[in-house]
């Protein structure tokens, strides 16, 4: 189980990168360019609220998981 936890850290790191790509490149940046208020609000939320929280959390979590911080000593 400890090994799964550790190597799942790579998945969390990749998920963090994928989430950052999806939130910024796929969702936020195209919406910033439209000039519509209904697009600007989600774009701001994606960029300044969700992206730092989700990406930051997944990357930190993945890093610590890879270091074996969540391992249980038998």
């Amino acid at each position: 189980m400890n090994l799964i936890k550790k190597y799942a850290g790579i998945i969390w790191l990749l998920a963090g990168v994928a989430a950052g790509y999806y939130l910024l490149i796929e969702q936020a940046f195209p919406k910033f360019g439209t000039g519509k208020a209904e697009d600007l609000i989600p774009a701001l939320i994606y960029t300044f609220i969700l992206c730092p929280l989700i990406v930051g959390s997944l990357l930190t979590f993945g890093l610590y998981a890879l270091k074996g911080e969540y391992n249980i000593e038998s």
Binding site: M1, I4, K5, A8, A15, E38, I41, P42, I45, I49, L50, L53, F61, A65, Y70, I72
Partner: protein
């Protein structure tokens, strides 16, 4: 309604003392993940008038013409308000109010008509919707019933309140609070993609665009489920350390 579901918090809290917090909370998340789309599809179809038999003899269409009134401005713009009322065999009533602005200046860009739809459902459908909401409340109570004890048991006293407060409020305030905005944006985005595909004559990318907003709670709950399953130690119940 609150009287019906409030005891469930106590029940699942009590049950978590017997069988463990983690199993109940993860079960609540998993059932929610698997059933959200089915429940919301059922809710949508319950209120979808296309599934109902229309009583055409009771359909009325009223059109009212009026001038646009703007304070201090002499305008020749006019409004056409069309109100369509329909009744259905099961007692459902439908009203559609379409307001079109006709600009006097024909060179100006056309204003998109405003549309407001109201569906008044029958008693049976009302109870059906209440039941479908109640089912979801059961999932909520499965997670929320044991959560206070679960969080207390998870962290040592030295950092307990910081460790509990930060993720709890980020989860509730940020992820929960933004749900309506994000879900609406996802639904609108899927609807627009379908509109563009329809205009281009290609296959519609989303079969049910109205369900697209559910991906937000489903993905978040899915991540919480996997992390909870793999990383949370359910055996550490020392709260005095």
């Amino acid at each position: 309604m609150r009287l019906c579901w409030q005891p469930l918090f106590v029940f699942f809290g009590w049950l978590s003392d017997k069988v463990g917090r983690k199993s109940i909370m993860l079960a609540g998340m998993l059932i929610a993940i698997l059933s959200y789309r089915t429940i919301y599809e059922k809710m949508y179809q319950t209120t979808n008038v296309e599934n109902k038999t229309e009583l055409t003899e009771k359909t009325t269409v009223d059109t009212v013409y009026s001038w646009v009134e703007k304070e201090g401005a002499d305008t020749k713009d006019s409004l056409i308000t069309t109100t369509t009322k329909k009744e259905y065999a099961d007692g459902t009533k439908y009203e559609e109010k379409k307001t079109t602005t006709v600009l006097a200046d024909i060179s100006a860009s056309v204003v998109k008509p405003e549309m407001r739809k109201t569906v008044i459902i029958n008693n049976g459908d009302k109870w059906s919707l209440i039941w479908l909401v109640f089912i979801q409340v059961i999932f909520v109570t499965m997670v929320y019933g044991p959560i206070a004890a679960f969080l207390v048991e998870m962290f040592p006293t030295r950092i307990r309140y910081t460790s509990m407060s930060l993720p709890y409020h980020v989860g509730n305030g940020v992820f929960g609070g933004l749900l309506p905005t994000i879900a609406t944006a996802l639904v609108a985005s899927a609807g627009m993609a379908n509109e563009e595909a329809k205009e281009a004559g290609t296959t519609l990318p989303y079969e049910a665009p109205y369900l697209e907003g559910l991906w937000y709670p489903i993905v978040i709950a899915g991540i919480c489920f996997v992390i909870g399953l793999l990383y949370i130690n359910s055996k550490d119940r020392k709260i005095e350390d």
